[in-house]
């Protein structure tokens, strides 16, 4: 079986997707986040999965997420990420911007 074809994620939206995932699922490690994004988008949005990690590091630096080492259900060491208050504010801002832009694009594209 071939891996499904991917649509690349628009730049800058990856942060938003990560933060949204963390809000919905709570504490998650990298693989869980990637998996969730893939499933939730019905495998349409499938990231080059590694690019998740630079994004996560950026969010760590910005203080939007907190990272903490823990163990998976199969008892393997993994770093778990959690959204911070600052991260929630950042997500709200980005969502607002996103909706405004999406709405504007929709207006332009609607037939008639």
């Amino acid at each position: 079986m071939r891996p499904p074809s991917r649509d690349s994620i628009p730049r800058g939206t990856l942060d938003m997707l990560i933060l949204k995932t963390l809000v919905r699922n709570g504490r998650s490690h990298g693989f869980e986040i990637a998996d969730h994004i893939a499933h939730a988008s019905a495998n349409v949005l499938q990231v080059e999965e590694g690019s998740l990690y630079p994004a996560l590091q950026r969010l760590l630096v910005d203080g939007a997420v907190r990272g903490e080492w823990g163990h998976t259900s199969e008892n393997r060491r993994a770093r778990y990420y959690e959204i911070s208050a600052a991260g929630r504010r950042m997500l709200e801002d980005e969502l607002r911007t996103y909706h405004r832009v999406a709405h504007a694009i929709a207006l332009v594209l609607q037939p008639g």
């Binding site: 079986m1 891996p3 490690h29 990298g30 693989f31 990637a34 998996d35 499938q46 080059e48 999965e49 590694g50 690019s51 990690y53 630079p54 996560l56 590091q57 950026r58 760590l60 630096v61 080492w69 393997r76 060491r77 993994a78 770093r79």
Partner: protein, 871 residues
Amino acid sequence: MSDELAEEMALHVELRAEAYRRSGLSDEDAAIAAARQFGNRPLLQERSRDAWGFRWADETMADVRYALRQLRRAPLFAAAVIGTLALGAAGLAVVLSATNTLLLAPPAGLSDPARLVDIRSTIGRDRNASVFSYPLYRDLSQATSNVEAVMAFAPFVASVRTDSLGDQQAAGLFVSSNYFQGLGVRPLVGRLFDEAGGRSEAPLPTAVLEWKYWNDRFGRDASVLGRVIDVNGVPVTIIGVAARGFTGTSGIVHPDLFLPLSLQPSVGRLDASRLDDRDAEWLSLVGRLRPNVTTSSAATELTGRAIRGEQERDQASRVAALRLSALRRVPADAAKPIAFFLGIFLVISAIVLCIASTNVANLLLARALARRREFAVRLALGADSLRLVRQLLTESAILFLSGGVAAVVTAAVALRVLARTYITVDFAIPLDFPLDSRVVVTTLLIACVVGSVVGLVPALHAARGDVASLLRSGTRSGAQRRRTRHAFAIVQIAMSVVLLVGAGLLQRAVEEGHRVDPGFRLKDVAVAPMSLSQAGYDDGRAQQFQAAVLRQLRTVPAIADAAFASVLPLALNSRRLGIQIPGHRPPRGARSFLVPTEVVSDNFFDVLAVPLVAGRAFSPTDNDNAPRVAIVTAAFARRFWSSAALADVIGKTFMSGPSTYTIVGVARDARFRSISEPPEALLFFAAGQQPTRDGVLLIHTRANAGNVASTLEGLVRGLDPRVPAMVVRSLESTATVGLLPQIIAGTASAVLGIIGLVLAVVGLYAVIAHGVAERTHEIGVRMALGASAIGVQKMVLSESLRLVTRGLVIGLSVAVLSSRFLSSLLFDISPFDPLTFAVVAGILALMTIVGSWLPARRAVRVDPLVALRAE
């Protein structure tokens, strides 16, 4: 950090692979698919680190680690570079430190020195603008809205007698009662003067010691408090020691002890109190401004006060304006000659650093050449050429920084040695220029800047060439490199020529200075300072005593003649006095002409063999009962009566104080004040009419009169054992003091010139040796074809001679253009002195031989077979 990322990513890929396996892929396929889906792991790791902004730091750390590894592998190279730089930059650090101490930093040991200002006045051009009268100081000393306090001080020569140590000369400083408080100096032991004594400067006979004096003379004994010492014949009680590091505010002389201004009338070796005398200007002033006050607003306020004060005492104002400037070790009016000197040294030491840096550039170039295969391989493997340049720059930055540190350490040692050196004029002036953080940082900064400039050349060389030509070691770039190295050698030689010419000219000036005719007898004249004020004499008895000493001296067979003078000739010293001359208007703002004066006994002109060109010398009849008379120098006559013949000056009169003087003689011009200054307008008074308690005996001895000192000692002791012991010197040795500027400049430039020469010889050697090594093959071929050993030697020597000749021509041209900046120090020596230039050319010829002898010998020993086989 990177380990955590790697672990995280590994887990991710593993989990993804498991998922694929579960969906039915083989183990191998699952692993490949998972890895592909994840992307380029090392790249992603690096980008993750970039999120933290670590990339730059990471790379720099890697560069530093790599550079250190490379340098550890070539310890000899590293040591050569660091040693060369230490030698080259240490001179600069020393000069910077001296400049900083003397001109840029406030004197040591003051609290909040930024608010302290040097106060000077601008009056007519004839007036010494840095000193004030005591009444004027009192006007200025009241606190105002801008000025917190004004402190006054005046240096004096102290003869200190203690029970245990006997007589000793010391540098004294009269200070106002608020001096220590205003400067923010605390006592180390005991107490300092305070204003408890009140503004009256009540005459408390007390003294405060400077730390070093206390350490050297009293062995840091705390029990000195309360001890009574004898200063110029006045008993004073030691009440404290000033905090260590405070060395006064009086220029480069560090005072040994501080006395209250109120003691001036009794302790100062002056005939009368200066405290009430509004004409006696003798106090230097320092002000402490209130916080956030500008110097200009404080100056305006103080000027107004000074003018008001002077108007109350006098009708006309004598002060035009007060000028305030930041307090420095050397007061602003004396800064110019010192800045000139330090400027010369700064240029010289910068040249030495340039020579050293060129050597280092040569070493770096040679090393880059030796490593070109390494660079070529790295470039071929895809290394970024910018990265390569950066790496080489890191290496040279590390080298130069270490060199800078080594230079600072070397300079610190040199300054330590220098601090134990004293220039003795009247006092021992210490050459103490402690390093401070500013100097250290500047030196390191200069080292780094020079390092990156010098390091850039070989780095670019290494990175520019395309890989192929580097691997082939193309001949074209070889020739180019040789040209660069030759240019280095030529520049070095040229710079050392400039240094040597400067040093040579100054040495000649010192020699010439010893030969300059001062216009009076130097040989066979012994001088002995004699201070009677210290022995408790009044003017009348002093006069009698001096006459008696002279009379007895003349009876000694070994002594031809003897005279007395108030001022030691050639000691850069004279007492200035205000005079009024009928028909002559004083300079604007002044009430009188301030002229240098000297009081001399009647046979002064005989002893010094100064002929009178008109009129007569003083005679024993010029005493208190006779009309007041004076003798002037020809320069004095020309200054005031330029149109008159010298004979017509006889009989002219002038006023000083209450008396009118008649000029009875004109003496030929002579360099009484300093050997290096042209004769000045000088006024002589007769000792019989102008009693002076302190002065100097001038004794004209007959040929090889050995023990004038003991004769004099016995004679004076016989007359009065209370008169302090005298130091007898020859007038010739005193003349040396006048040559101090030349001697200091000559010694410093000689030391730096030798360092520069040695570095340049090493540089020349390196270039020639390298050339020989590079041409081993060629030399082998030549010798195989029958070239003689002498022929090969000639070839090597002629290459070196070509370089030296070019360097010499350039260097001499630069020297000719720049040596006239030294002309003020050179007496009558031409800046183009042929002897100096010839000697320098000779030294350079010697340098050629030294620099190319070893390489030439090595060239001759090339075995043609070995040389040819090596290819």
